[in-house]
């Protein structure tokens, strides 16, 4: 895995890095700053600390501000508190300039990230804004607006860790209310007649309260997270906030009739559901939203004590407690009986059953271990039966990694809340993944089912120089040569041996120094806690996870595999540290040659700091990796939409939505029989004129189309700048329409792949060669899994995003759905290593499946032209399993027009991807 750097070139840049490293190390060592996560360490030594980066927090808050643009000026005019307003207004006057500039920047970021649905919500909100303005000017229209007292909920993000930065004097004066929340409350005066109520007399600029824009002066704070507060207990309540989190303030406000408070609540943005879930907050609401979907996880004991006739004594653990699950819980007798009876009757273990519940088919998966039975039920619409087994196996393995065995995990009452959290995440990911992960990558259930189910991790190939550097930094860390910080230095036995580590960047694995099985264990944990998608967004200021794990490879002691060698009796710990887009997972061993761990060790800050230092050191490579991510895809990909002549509707639909699409429709328009060249040219021209306003790159596409129309071979660079991917595509499709299909295009661009990324310079010079190939490119999507290393390669999210279109996302969805079936066919036919008991004799059914393909036909949706039949596009989804020379699995999706010989060839050549 670790490639030797023979040319020495990387070392130069590296040595400077090392110096940086030393400085970081010493800073970390000699600063006796207490780590932020220290308070979050639980009794059992485990730690899950997640802190959003400042930019992210503010971005979230700015979202509110963007909705109510005049955030800081939101002051309600009221005769009683006139003097406060003037006081406040003065403060705002000098602060607004600064904050506005900041806001502009943030909102710009947000605009890019916001999804259409949110945009809609925002639009709705802005239309209601006049109402809120009216409210402020209520005095001008007396009699029209009826004022009424009502309660409203406001979510505010608070970070007590920042308190230290606030000057102590202000904290003294106003207490936590002022320092943490930014709410000014002056006791005395008119508060007496309101009876200890916390009237908000003022807001401190830039404080959470003022930024959220929904806390108005004159409101009364009634409750914090449903805890009633008065002027007496508020300090105590606020001091209980342990770490950065979102709290819900209940305020009593005077609200004009006609403005429904609900619309305000829905408009108030929240820290992404995933983060809140990981923080362990607000699981109720998410749970409620899927309460009507029947699902349950139960751990049942098969050993029934007939003497103590207690109700529900066989349920060791159960999640969730909702109504739909109550029905499933009520029929647990079925599960127990079936498990017992089928073993007696057929000699096999039950693995699944299906039942109809409220006109909904529900699949139930079983896992029997010793005298316990794990039962997980999910609706058939979420998990197809043929993949249920894989999902269950994933859960079981994750639980085993976390707790050693199912029995140990479930029988410990202490674990119950943690397991609740675990299964909450599990079901949320299965049932409503879109609510969890708000991001530009479209969460696709089948996609995540398929990719998560692969016994592999998504890998990102890096240019060799970066790769070498990353590996060197990792190895350096793994040598645990921490200088005067290591235990060696003090003549102690070292606490932990670093078994290996792996490094993720934006959710892609970029370096791995762990054995495959350990990697999979670690990855399962990360997947389950959604750490990979989390890191792919600029979210993480700091992530520290520490827990004891039970790597499956080490747990199942197999002395026959390596005679004479046995694994040391050791305990293992997983340390995950995330900084911005980087995330490093380290597997530590205590015992063996390190000192054995006693009790429940808490994370050792030296190790955490060392990982952090490693990550800080790696940050310099950020740019290089980003460049790789934004590089044009290798192998080249085509967008499905390019192969379909666009209907009449697409022109109107796509205008303004995406410049790439605009260009596409222009180029794809079926040429009229009269003058192909002319019409193509004309179309492209008009679009170009329209488009020039939006994007200067448009002109490039024009020239491309023009060149084509004139009949000259297209000679525009295939791989030019990032943004012009679309214009390449339009070129390709234009060429496709004109050229006979029977040319034998090679869909896989083995050539381009062979050229490694480091040779990008030379590659750019060969652009002319690339173009001819690019015109005929018919590859839509691919997944390549290397079973030995436990990694898979698929087009990156950036690459997929560039191929935007209406049909392409459908195609990818379809591809992944189909891959579920293909992979299951492979799995089914493999001589199964029986998970319990003796191996199963002879493969049944169809026998070993080596290759399986499905041809799909798609038509553009809402085809408007009645006269002509809708054009169809057909494409193959093919999976192939290779056992020789190295076990691999491929899944490819390409256009039907490919002559099929190269497909075979391509399979055999296995992409030539050197991993």
């Amino acid at each position: 895995m670790f490639s030797t750097c023979s040319d020495g070139r990387p070392f130069q840049s590296f040595s400077t890095n090392l110096e940086d490293f030393d400085s970081i190390r010493s800073v970390l060592l000699y600063s006796d700053l207490e780590p932020e996560w220290l308070d979050d360490v639980q009794k059992n030594g485990q730690l899950f600390y997640l802190e959003l980066s400042d930019g992210e927090e503010e971005a979230l808050l700015a979202q509110v501000s963007a909705n109510h643009s005049a955030a800081t000026n939101h002051v309600r005019f009221s005769e009683k508190e006139a003097e406060i307003i003037t006081d406040n207004a003065k403060r705002q006057a000098n602060s607004s300039n600064k904050s506005e500039a900041k806001l502009k920047k943030l909102t710009k970021i947000l605009r890019r990230k916001r999804r259409p649905s949110q945009r809609k919500a925002e639009g709705k909100d802005s239309s209601q804004r006049p109402a809120s303005i009216l409210k402020n000017q209520a005095g001008q229209r007396p009699g029209v607006v009826v004022q009424q007292q009502r309660l409203k909920d406001v979510c505010v993000y608070l970070n007590p860790k920042r308190l230290s930065s606030v000057s102590s004097s202000s904290a003294d004066r106003g207490g936590l209310l002022e320092a943490l929340l930014g709410v000014v409350h002056r006791p005395g005066g008119n508060t007496g007649k309101r009876g200890g109520k916390l009237i908000i007399h003022g807001l401190i600029p830039h404080s959470p309260a003022s930024k959220c824009a929904e806390i108005l002066i004159g409101d009364a704070l009634v409750a914090v997270d449903d805890v009633e507060v008065t002027s007496e207990n508020i300090e105590r309540v606020l001091s209980c906030i342990p770490g950065p989190m979102q709290v819900r303030l209940t305020l009593e406000t005077v609200c004009p009739a006609g403005v429904s408070p609900e619309s305000k609540v829905s408009a108030s943005p929240q820290v992404s559901q995933l983060v809140r879930l990981l923080w362990g907050e607000d699981t109720i609401e998410l749970q409620m939203s899927i309460a009507d979907v029947p699902h349950i996880a139960m751990f049942l004991s098969l050993r029934l004590d007939s003497e103590t006739q207690q109700d529900e004594q066989e349920i060791v653990y159960q999640y969730p407690q909702s109504e739909a699950s109550a029905q499933l819980k009520a029929v647990r007798g079925i599960f127990l009986t079936l498990c017992d009876m089928l073993e007696n009757v057929t000699g096999g273990q039950i693995i699944s059953s299906s039942l109809w519940l409220q006109q909904q088919l529900v699949h139930v998966g079983y896992w029997k271990e010793e005298s316990n039975l794990l039962v997980i039920a999910v609706p058939a619409s979420r998990v197809p039966l043929l993949y249920l087994q894989t999902v269950i196996e994933g859960v079981v393995r994750t639980l085993k990694v976390m707790y050693g065995s199912l029995d140990r995990g479930f029988s410990d009452v202490e674990n119950a809340p943690r397991l609740d959290h675990f299964f909450c995440l599990f079901f949320q990911q299965l049932i409503q993944p879109s609510r969890l992960i708000h991001s530009s990558r479209t969460p696709d259930l089948y996609g995540s089912l398929f990719l998560d189910g692969l016994p592999a991790v998504r890998w990102l190939t890096l240019p060799p120089d970066i790769k070498v550097e990353v590996d060197t930094v990792l190895s350096d860390f793994e040598s645990s040569d921490f200088g005067d910080m290591s235990e060696d230095f003090y003549g102690m036995r070292r606490l932990y041996v670093i078994l290996g580590s792996c490094l993720f960047y934006k959710g892609y694995l970029i370096a791995n120094h762990l054995p495959k099985e350990d990697l999979l264990d670690v990855c399962l944990y990360c997947q389950h806690y959604c750490l990979l998608p989390l890191a792919s967004e600029q979210r993480v200021a700091q992530l520290v996870v520490w827990r004891e794990v039970f790597p499956q490879r080490r747990e199942t002691r197999n002395s026959t595999a390596h005679p004479g060698y046995c694994q040391p009796h050791a305990r293992h710990f997983l340390l995950i540290v995330g900084l911005r887009h980087f995330m490093q997972c380290v597997l530590l061993e205590a015992g063996g040659c390190a000192s054995s761990a006693v009790g429940r060790p808490t994370p050792d800050s030296v190790y955490v700091d060392q990982v952090k230092a490693t990550l800080l050191q790696l940050e310099s490579l950020d740019a290089g990796i980003e460049e790789r991510l934004s590089a044009p895809p290798t192998p080249c990909l085509s967008c499905a939409d390019w192969f379909l002549p666009a209907g009449g509707r697409s022109q109107q639909d796509t205008i303004g939505s995406s410049p790439i699409l605009n260009r596409l429709t222009a180029a794809i328009k079926p040429p009229s029989p009269g003058g192909i060249g002319r019409s193509l040219f004309g179309e492209a021209g008009t679009v170009g004129i329209r488009g020039r306003r939006a994007s200067p790159q448009r002109s490039q596409s024009d020239s491309g189309s023009e060149g084509h129309a004139d009949g000259t071979p297209a000679s525009v660079a295939r791989r030019d700048s990032l943004g012009s991917g679309g214009s390449d595509g339009s070129l390709g499709s234009a060429g496709f329409l004109k050229m006979p299909r029977l040319k034998h295009p090679n869909p896989f661009y083995l050539g381009s792949l062979r050229k490694s990324l480091s040779e990008r310079e030379t590659e750019e010079m060969q652009n002319v060669l690339q173009v001819t190939a690019g015109v005929e490119n018919t590859l839509f999507h691919y997944v390549l899994m290397e079973s030995v290393q436990g990694i898979f390669i698929a087009p990156t999210h950036t690459e997929i995003r560039h191929l935007s279109g209406s049909i392409h996302p459908q195609l990818i969805h379809n591809f992944q759905h189909c891959c579920l079936s293909i992979r299951q066919a492979f799995q089914q036919s493999l001589p199964t290593r029986d998970r319990r008991g003796p191996e199963r004799q002879s493969t049944a059914g169809l026998g070993p499946v080596k290759e399986h393909g499905v041809l799909f036909q798609c038509k553009p949706q809402n085809w408007t032209d009645q006269k002509k039949p809708a054009p169809t596009m057909t494409y193959w989804v093919i999976g192939r399993m290779l056992l020789e020379p190295v076990p691999q699995e491929f899944y490819v999706c390409f256009h039907d027009s490919v002559a099929e010989v190269p497909v075979e060839m391509a399979f055999r050549l296995s992409f030539g991807l050197a991993v």
Binding site: L361, N814, S829, V901, V903, E904
Partner: protein
């Protein structure tokens, strides 16, 4: 413990759980097992959860089915080399129910007055049920029970002559439904036979006729499960030659005696024709005019409109280019593979009839039209057009990229030559 490769069918009353019968190749399951199999279903139904099926890691399956709220059928398949798919078991339950209706009528089954009497009456269905159980792993190439299509045969020459004879014979017996069966497969039938009878009815009717194969003529009251589940009509069946039957569905007239007199009038002239057809049918269900490629191992062609199915499983290779071509896999294995591939394709990709579209197939955003599978033993290709479904088993020596061409050629060769 249930032996491998066995299949048990249990029938109980749905309300009280009284066992009515149990059929299957192996020893009957102990009463306690039958009781708990029924019990779990009843328990679930009481809690609003309708248990439908379950599966073990060794491929055994249990499928439950309640019909008309009166009878519960349970199929239990043992673990073993070739596991029986859920679709097959589900279809088996439906077919068994249809057989019971065919013989006893729906009224008798849906309102049980006397359990003991019903038990006795159900004995008359045993023969049919046993045939259905055997057909799950049938070696003669009957697929109708699985595909819900009529197993057909395409007689070579004199097709028109036979058609005329069937039509006029049916007319003479004042019936609209008449058909000619060769070795249990429908060779010719009247137009109404295809259009008015549901495929399920045709499947059980052909099983019934086959079970009566020894009789030279018979007059059997039948209830059509869909067409007339409560009113019995008459099935008249005559053996023209060993293996050749003609049957009609008719009302009170004519009497068996009168009808058998008509037989000689319409069919005596065609005996030689029938004999040659029978000879040819023994070799292949395709007319000799259609020549298949030598490397086709087996095929199943379904006409989706008329719900007819054609199974071809050549016994010997014809026209293999070299002598050293490996011999064909055994017929039984090829038919098993064909059946497995059909189930594989239909449950995952192709939308077959009415209700069988599985949840998985509905998850696709685009329409699957073809699929192929490469295994060690053979290569399978499935193809779906608006009118036909073709499932093809090829030699492993055929290059994968050629499969599609072979399949489309085979389809067009058969349909153009026979108008299937």
């Amino acid at each position: 413990m249930l032996q491998a490769e066995t299949l048990q069918l249990l029938c109980l009353t749905a309300s009280s759980g009284v066992p009515l019968f149990s059929r299957g190749s192996s020893k009957q399951l102990p009463f306690s097992v039958i009781g708990s199999l029924n019990g779990v279903h009843m328990f679930g139904a009481g809690h609003g959860a309708q248990l439908s099926s379950c599966e073990t890691d060794r491929g055994s399956r249990v499928v439950w089915g309640v019909f008309q709220d009166s009878l519960m059928l349970i199929a239990v398949s043992g673990s073993g080399g070739s596991s029986i798919s859920q679709l097959q078991l589900r279809r088996l339950l439906e077919n068994v129910w249809n057989c019971m209706v065919l013989v006893l009528g729906q009224d008798e089954l849906s309102s049980i007055r006397n359990v003991e009497r019903l038990k006795r009456e159900l004995r008359s269905c045993y023969r049919l049920i046993d045939m259905l159980l055997e057909r799950v792993n049938d070696e003669e190439g009957f697929m109708g029970d699985l595909t819900q299509c009529t197993d057909c045969l395409l007689p070579s020459h004199s097709g028109l002559l036979l058609q005329e004879a069937v039509d006029s014979f049916a007319q003479a017996t004042e019936s609209e439904f008449g058909c000619l069966l060769l070795n249990g497969r429908v060779a010719r039938a009247t137009e109404k036979w295809w259009s008015r009878l549901t495929p399920q009815e045709v499947v059980v009717l052909s099983v019934l006729v086959r079970s009566l194969a020894d009789a030279s003529s018979c007059d059997y009251p039948v209830f059509l499960p869909k067409g007339s589940p409560t009113v019995a009509i008459r099935l008249l069946s005559f053996q023209l030659l060993p293996g050749v039957h003609v049957c009609v569905l008719c009302g009170p007239k004519p009497s068996l005696h009168n009808a058998s007199e008509l037989i000689s009038r319409f069919w005596s002239t065609l005996v030689e024709n029938l004999r040659t057809c029978l000879e040819q049918a023994k070799r292949s269900s395709l007319p000799p005019s259609v020549s298949l490629r030598w490397d086709v191992q087996a095929l199943l062609l379904i006409n989706c409109d008329s719900r007819r199915a054609l199974t071809v499983c050549p016994r010997v290779r014809v026209g293999a280019p070299a002598e050293d071509t490996p011999p064909l896999i055994s017929t039984a294995r090829r038919l098993e593979l064909l059946r497995l591939f059909y189930v594989f394709a239909v449950t995952r990709y192709f939308t077959s009839q009415e209700s069988t579209a599985s949840d998985f197939a509905q998850g696709f955003t685009h329409v699957p039209v073809q699929c192929y599978l490469v295994t060690d033993e053979c290569k399978c290709f499935g193809l779906q057009s608006p009118q036909h479904q073709l499932f093809l088993l090829m030699d492993p020596s055929v290059p994968t990229f050629a499969l599609r061409t072979v399949a489309t050629q085979t389809l067009s060769a058969i349909t153009s030559a026979t108008g299937f």
